[in-house]
Amino acid sequence: MTETLQALAQGFGVALTPINLLWGFVGVTLGTAIGVLPGVGPALTVAMLLPLTAKLDPTGALIMFAGIYYGAMYGGSTTTILLNTPGESASIATALEGNRMAKRGRAGPALATAAIGSFVAGTIATVLLTLLAPLVVEVALKFGPAEYFALMVFAFVTVAAVLGSSTVRGLSMLFVGLLLGLVGIDDQTGQMRFAFGVPELMDGIDVVVLAVGLFAVGEALYVAAYQSRLPETMEKLSGSLMMSREDWRRSWPAWLRATAIGFPFGTIPAGGAEIPTFLSYALEKKLSKHPEEFGNGAIEGVAGPEAANNASSAGVLVPLLTLGIPTSATAAILLAAFQNYGLQPGPLLFQTQGALVWGLIASMYIGNVLLLILNLPLIGLWVQVLKIPQPLLYAGILVFATLGAYSLHQSVVDLATLYVFGLLGFLMRRWGFPVAPAVIGLILGPLAESQFRRALAISQGDPSVFITHPISAALLAATVVLVLAPWLWKAVRERRRGTDRAPG
C-alpha cells in the first residue's frame, strides 16, 4: 500500500512536469474536440495520430493518447445529448434520455450531469485502478507463456463470440484479424508469410492502416451512402447549465452505482463500455422513483450511463497495463502505441518503466480535472464544433486518415490497402460484422502465437502444458463455458418449452 502511494507520488512527479502537463492538456482537448465530432471515436483518433508520434518521447506521447482516450468519452456525450447521433456505441444509452432532456429545453443540466458524473466516476475508477493494478501485477508475475496464451484465448473468444449480435460473424472477424496479423516476417524463424513478395507487406499490416481503413474510410463510405441525405436536427443549448437541488439529489446515487457497474466490466474482456452503460440505464430505470419520466428525459438515465462509460474506460486500462491484454478496439490501438516504442505492457513494465506507467496513471487524475473544466465552462466552444457541415467534416476526416496511412512508408500501396480495408469496413457495417475482434486479432494475434510457441518450446512440444497448469486450464475451461453456455441455455429453454407444450 505504501509502496503504491510512493509509486503514485513518483508518477505525479512525472505527470506534473510542464512538458507532460502540456501533452496531457493537448490530449484531453483533442480528445474532447474529436469526441464531439459525430462519427469519430477514440479508436480512430489514436490510430490516426500513431504514425506522427515516432519522434515524441514515449511518456509524453502515451499521456497524450490516454488523454485522447478518456477525453473522447466526455466529448461524445455532448454530441449525443445535442444531436442524437451517438458518436460511439457506448453513448446509445445516454441518447435515450439526454436528447429527450435537450428537446424539453433541459440540455444544460443534461450536459452538466454527464460531465460531473464522468468526473466523479473517472476519478473513483482511477483510484480503483491505482489500488488494483499492483495486485494484478503480483499475480501476473507468476504467469508463464502457457497462462498468457490461455488468457489471450479467453480475451479473443469473449470479445468475438460472446459480445455482439452473432457469434459466427464475431469469430469470422477475429480470424480475419488473426490472419492479417500473420502477414510478414515470422519473428522466431524469419520465415516470410502471406507477403507474396510485396515489400509493403513484409513488415506486416500496420494497425494504423487497418483501424483507419475500417473506422474512417469504411465509416465515410457508409455514412455517404446511407445517411448523408438525412435532415440534421441539432438541439439548442438554451438556459442555464446549473443543476437544481433536485437534479443533484437524483444524479449522485446514479453516478456511484454506475461506477460500481462500469469499473468491473471494464476490467474483464467485455468489449468496453457498451454493456455497463446499458446495465446502468436499466438499473436506474428500475430503481427510479419517477419511472414514468424514463423515455421522456429522466436525468438518472443520463447520469448513470455516462458515469458507467467513464468508469469502464478506466477499468479497461487494468488488463491493458498489467497484463498487456486489450479488451476493446481502442485499447488494442493503445497497445500498438506502446509497441511502437518497443514497450510491452504487462507486469514487467511496472518494474522496468515504473516512472512511465505511474506517470500515465497520475496523468489520469489530472486529466479528469482538466476535462471537467474543459467541458463545463467551455461547453459553448464544443457546440461550435458541432456546426461544421457534414460534407466538410468527412472530407477533413479522410484527409487526416489518408495522411496517417501515407506517412507510414510514403507509399501509395498503403493508400490502396487503406481503401480495401475501407470497402471491408463498409461491408462489415452494412452486414453486421463487428470491428473490434478484427483489430484485437491483428494486434494480439502475433503475441498469442509467440506465447503459444514459447510454451511448447519449454514443454518440448508437449501440448498438455495448457491443461496441466491450473491457471491456464481454468481460463481455457472458462472460455469453453462462455461459448457453450448460451447454446446450452437456449437448448434447455427450448426443451422446457417443448415439455410445457406437450399435451398433459
Binding site: 449480435s165 448523408s228 457534414q390 466538410l392 468527412y394 501515407y406 510457441r453 518450446a457
Partner: protein, 169 residues
Amino acid sequence: MGAPARSRVELALSLGVLALGLGAGIVAFSLPDAGGYARVGPNAMPQAVAIALVALGGWLLVEVHTGGWRDAVPDDPAERGEHPFVFAAFAWVSAGLFLQMALIHTAGFVLAAAALTACVARGFGSTRVARDLGIGVVLGLAVFLFFVRFLNVNLPAGWLKPLLGGAGI
C-alpha cells in the same frame, strides 16, 4: 431489396470467408515446418487460422441455407433510420480516394488533398465545388507545413514545389 437479394449477398459474403480460408490454407500448408524444440513452426498458427476460417465460412453458409443469417442487420433502410443506398455518394467518396492516390506523387500532397476534399464533400451532397476546393487547399497546406516544418515528416510538394520554398520532397 427483397429477401432473394439479401440471401445473394449473404451467400457471396459467406463464400468470401470460405475462399479466404481456402486461400490462406493453400499458403499455410506450403510453409516449411522448422519447429525446433516446440515441434510447432511458423506454419502452425496459419494452418489453424485457415481451418477456422473455412469452418466459419461453412457455418455462415449453413445459416444462409437455413433461413438466412441470424440476428442480421435490418434490410429496410427506414428501419435502420437511414435512406436507401445512394450510389453517387459512394462513388464520389471512392473517386476522391483514387484521385488522391493518382495525384499524390505528381501534383503533390496539397493538391491531392484538395481533390480529395472536393470529391468527398460532393459525395456528401455539397454543391459548392469552389468553396470545397479552396478549403481543401487551405487544409492541405496547413497540414503540409505543420508536418514538414514541425514534425519532420516528409510529404511530396509536387507541382507546388516552387511556391513551397524547398519544403517537402
